[in-house]
């Protein structure tokens, strides 16, 4: 999976040395299936920061559809959203909000 390679790239870039992280719980009953994965990717892709989702030690690139699907985060699981870049705060907040709004599902 791409995440490790991307991280090393950003460490050698001129991006700020800070990294923002927030934990979020999956609350929609069906979990992060294809449609929520698409929502996450669409949201993440708007930001310049590198963004990762981490669950149970697995790290995936939040801008990669395949990556986010691989997380297969079921209801109740806790996901860490981590971002590194000029708009990292906005990025993390936007993604956390997408989770909190249950990806538009009931």
């Amino acid at each position: 999976m791409p995440a490790r390679a991307d991280r090393s790239l950003s460490k050698t870039s001129l991006a700020a040395a800070t990294v923002i992280e927030k934990n979020v719980t999956v609350i929609n009953p069906l979990g992060v299936h294809a449609r929520p994965s698409a929502m996450i990717v669409q949201t993440a892709s708007k930001f310049r920061a590198e963004i990762w989702l981490i669950k149970d030690g697995n790290e995936v690139n939040a801008k990669s559809m395949l990556g986010v699907m691989t997380l297969a985060a079921e209801m109740g699981s806790v996901v860490t959203v981590r971002a590194d870049g000029s708009d990292e705060d906005k990025a993390v907040d936007a993604i956390v909000r997408v989770f909190e709004m249950r990806f538009g599902e009931r």
Binding site: M1, P29, L30, A34, K63, L66, M69, E74
Partner: protein
């Protein structure tokens, strides 16, 4: 052979064996004259072509299937567009001089395997979307032209071990007469698509369909799940007659029956109800002369949306159904989802039929059940709404379900939303345990509905999908008839109505002994209603009772079959075709 009836209808024709895309491409490295650049260009072109293909399918999706299919295609397009995949594949091409198809298969295959390991069956289904994209991209790269392998030249019945809605839509429209799959359950995206296309589908046949020789003639019955290879002329004629009966508009004589009651010659009344999957089918039920809906399978709502429908959406759908029925009862089964129904092609639980399905799944996510109950109660002021829960195996399970029903009522009272406090709450009897506890359950429930499809499986320990047990997959086991007899007796002792809604209630041979046992209602596919009503009106309840008694007293299925066929032959003679 018998599979699971997934979409109604009868079709006969030559087999067309649909092979899922490709064999895994052998790992190929670039020849010396192939450059990494040109290979990357090839990759980009293939991805662009697949993207266009998927968007075309999305546009072609029948509107009635709802937004679920569109969402599936959208998700697949996002996989095609995934910049990370593109980057990794190009890295692999550059670093190892791998051919694009090999690199793509590897990168995407790893992700697929990771997803297949997820314990959640609904999430595992995402592996299918990845497989669909992988297959198409690799086909493009290997020059298997998009549809060249899958080009129908004459009307055929499509056989596949597994197939996706996109695959069906990539075939020539109008030439697909029906679909048969090895895997899959009753409720799936493929079933939904088949229904909206008006073609029969049989799923879960359990046989490796790739072994069927191309162009083998076959007949499929989407009402019963029967699939017959190389049918003899008698069989062909039988099914042709059935097809005409069930597909064509009611012959004039049967149309006259529509408003006549379903009563026997000695004035015994039976309610003939319809099984429906979509709210829109209530119109069909009414047109067929049904006295109401005896089974509304709400899982399709879930499939159409691609997610559990919101409470507001459910209210809208249920309101439409109850209003169309104009005073006739609507019996609704709460969401009956489980590993085999939500994710037909995903790796199942070790034993999904005995696993977390039906009410057990609902009880893991009670908020969903409670919301569904609220939505149903909200429309109960518009007509008689009866709600039943599936897969009950104990009194305790039913009590838990009922407490959620009561909570839903309390929720509505708090919100000052009116509902019919007398709305009936009952259950499906489909486990042997429920049969044994029927008396106690009758004290607590407002009605029973027997789900014979599952009951016969559990009682005779026969897996419907197991091809080696073909000869046991029928409903003539005396054990089943004795259970039915017990259920009716227990229900009536508890003074509640007892109905039956499994596949067998639409079988003309089974109808007469079922009536004889005292079932208050039978529910089955609307297309079969006029015929069964005509049959009922030509027999006497007294005779049906005698028949039922001898069926229950039988020792073997052979005896049951003989009794039933003899009686039916006599009754049918009195009927004009």
């Amino acid at each position: 052979m018998r599979g699971i009836a997934a979409a109604p209808g009868i079709a006969s024709g030559p087999a067309f064996v649909y092979r899922v895309g490709h064999e895994a491409p052998p790992v190929r490295v670039l020849a010396s004259k192939e450059t990494v650049e040109s290979e990357c260009v090839r990759l980009d072109a293939a991805l662009a072509a697949v993207r266009e293909e998927l968007l075309r399918f999305k546009k072609k999706s029948p509107g009635s299937v709802g937004s679920a299919l569109a969402k599936i295609f959208d998700a697949q397009v996002m996989i095609v567009d995934d910049p990370s995949i593109r980057a990794q594949v190009k890295d692999a091409i550059g670093a190892k001089r791998l051919a694009a198809e090999s690199a793509f298969a590897r990168v995407v295959g790893d992700a697929q395997k990771a997803i297949e390991r997820s314990p959640d069956p609904y999430l595992r289904e995402m592996a299918n979307d990845i497989e669909a994209v992988k297959t198409r991209v690799i086909n493009q790269l290997m020059g298997h032209g998009a549809d060249s392998e899958h080009h129908l030249s004459l009307p055929s019945i499509v056989l596949a071990n597994t197939i996706t809605p996109a695959d069906i839509m990539s075939l020539q429209k109008g030439l697909v007469l029906g679909v048969v799959t090895q895997t899959g359950g009753q409720i799936s995206h493929v079933a939904l698509l088949a229904k909206s296309l008006g073609i029969p589908a049989v799923a879960g046949l359990g046989v490796d369909l790739r072994t069927v020789r191309p162009s083998t003639r076959l007949v499929i019955d989407g009402f019963s799940g029967a699939v017959i290879l190389n049918p003899g002329s008698d069989t062909i004629e039988f099914f042709e007659r059935k097809r005409r009966r069930t597909h064509s508009p009611w012959p004039k004589k049967l149309e006259a029956l529509r408003d006549l009651p379903a009563v026997t010659v000695d004035r015994h009344k039976v309610s003939i109800l319809a099984n429906i999957d979509l709210a829109g089918e209530t119109e069909l039920a009414v047109a067929a002369g049904a006295a109401g809906v005896g089974l509304y399978r709400t899982e399709y709502l879930f499939l159409q949306q691609g997610e559990y429908p919101s409470e507001a959406k459910q209210v809208e759908v249920y309101r439409r159904a109850i209003t169309t029925l104009a005073g006739r009862p609507l019996v609704v089964r709460s969401f009956d989802l489980g590993s085999d129904k939500a994710a037909p092609n995903a790796a199942p639980e070790a034993n999904p039929a005995l696993g977390v399905r039906g009410l057990r799944l609902s009880l893991e996510k009670p908020a969903i059940l409670r919301a569904q109950f609220r939505a149903l109660l909200a429309v109960s002021t518009l007509g008689p709404v009866w709600v039943m829960v599936p897969m009950i195996a104990s009194v305790e399970e039913f009590e838990v379900a009922r407490s959620i029903w009561n909570q839903a009522k309390a929720d509505l009272r708090r919100k000052k939303i009116p509902f019919d406090s007398k709305a009936k709450f009952g259950l499906m009897i489909e486990t042997p345990a429920a049969v044994r506890m029927a008396y106690e359950l009758a004290q607590r429930a407002d009605f029973f509905s027997v789900g014979t499809n599952d009951l016969v499986q559990y009682t005779t320990a026969v897996d419907r999908g197991n091809q080696r047990l073909q000869s046991l997959q029928h409903h003539w086991h005396p054990a089943l008839w004795r259970q039915l007899d017990d259920i009716v007796k227990a229900g009536h002792r508890g003074e509640i109505p007892v109905g039956i809604c499994g596949e067998m209630s639409g079988d003309p041979l089974a109808v007469l002994p079922l009536v004889g046992l005292g079932f208050d209602s039978l529910s089955f596919h609307p297309n079969s209603i006029p015929r069964i009503k005509a049959l009922l009106r030509s027999v006497s309840f007294a005779d049906c009772r005698k028949l039922a008694a001898s069926v229950v007293a039988s020792a073997t299925s052979g005896q049951v079959r003989k009794l039933v066929k003899t009686f039916y032959a006599r009754a049918a003679r009195k009927l004009k075709p």
